[in-house]
């Protein structure tokens, strides 16, 4: 538990508030209380609610970019490495804390352009996935299916059993190696 910066503390607190109490209760007061500081202190770091949400989105976008990037670069095989990285990270590394979920929801709720960092991230990935040496349509489908898993967890819509999730994962991985 090294010392994290106060800014990151605040972002984590905001995520926690969204996760526990929903978007409508993501208030400055609640976030400040969760982060253990006052509202004034919070507003010092993020001068408005929109700035706070912006901070959440940028933080998680950077996290994901780095994770997937690291994964792809560590892959010894070039062909399909971005697709595999996308699948692996989403299935196995993305959900310890559900930052991405809550950040996305908050961003969608707050304003249209607060999602811009995510848009950029996705365009980038999509380009890499299409240019990954696999059939672009099949690669896109692998990616979309991965997003589908993600959607179901985001909205908590239906629970896919562990075994089935694993089978899906393995099939997608298999396709990403062809």
């Amino acid at each position: 538990m090294g010392k994290t910066s106060r800014k990151v503390d605040i972002l984590n607190a905001a995520s926690k508030v969204v996760s526990e109490k929903g978007i409508f209760n993501l208030t400055l007061d609640a976030t400040a209380k969760e982060a253990g500081i006052s509202k004034g202190g919070l507003l010092y770091h993020y001068p408005s609610k929109e700035a706070l949400v912006q901070g959440m989105v940028e933080h998680l976008a950077n996290n994901y970019r780095e994770k997937i990037s690291n994964n792809a670069e560590a892959d010894p095989v070039d062909k399909g490495k971005w697709v595999r990285a996308y699948v692996d990270v989403t299935f196995n590394q993305a959900y310890q804390n559900k930052d991405m979920h809550y950040g996305l929801l908050a961003a969608k709720a707050v304003s249209a352009n607060s999602l811009d960092p995510i848009r950029e991230l996705y365009s980038d990935w999509q380009r890499k996935i299409e240019d990954d040496g696999l059939d672009p349509i099949k690669a896109t489908i692998i990616r979309l299916a991965t997003d589908g898993i993600w959607l179901s967890e985001l909205f908590d819509i239906y629970h896919i059993e562990k075994d089935k999730k694993k089978a899906v994962y393995e099939k997608l991985r298999e396709w990403a190696n062809e």
Copy 2:
């Protein structure tokens, strides 16, 4: 343009508010104004905001259930008909008005259990899709990829070009016929 019931008018108005101004501005006042009635009138039909959102969710769940059901029943081939219905409706019929999007967002924002009708719907579909005569894992992947398309439109995260979307659609359809 037939006369729709006032209740449905209100639900459409609520959807429109969410689409144009975001979840945070889905207020009773705004919904009433959009529906052309007073707040008192709105509260006569939906006695609370939660009831209003509940109404949105149930309405769209019924719509979708019916659409997919009709599609599947009209399919002359039994094997894979639910998968095809799911793909077809999501790709081609679901987005004229984005009810599902806004209803889902509103429900997720308002309370956990307001998503229950959607959960039920999805469990139902998943069961049918797995028991559709295709390889269950492949059928699930087709379904997840379809959901992925849906996610990208819901969050307006990245725009998939028309041609590519069509190619994805055709590949998924092809798989649904194997």
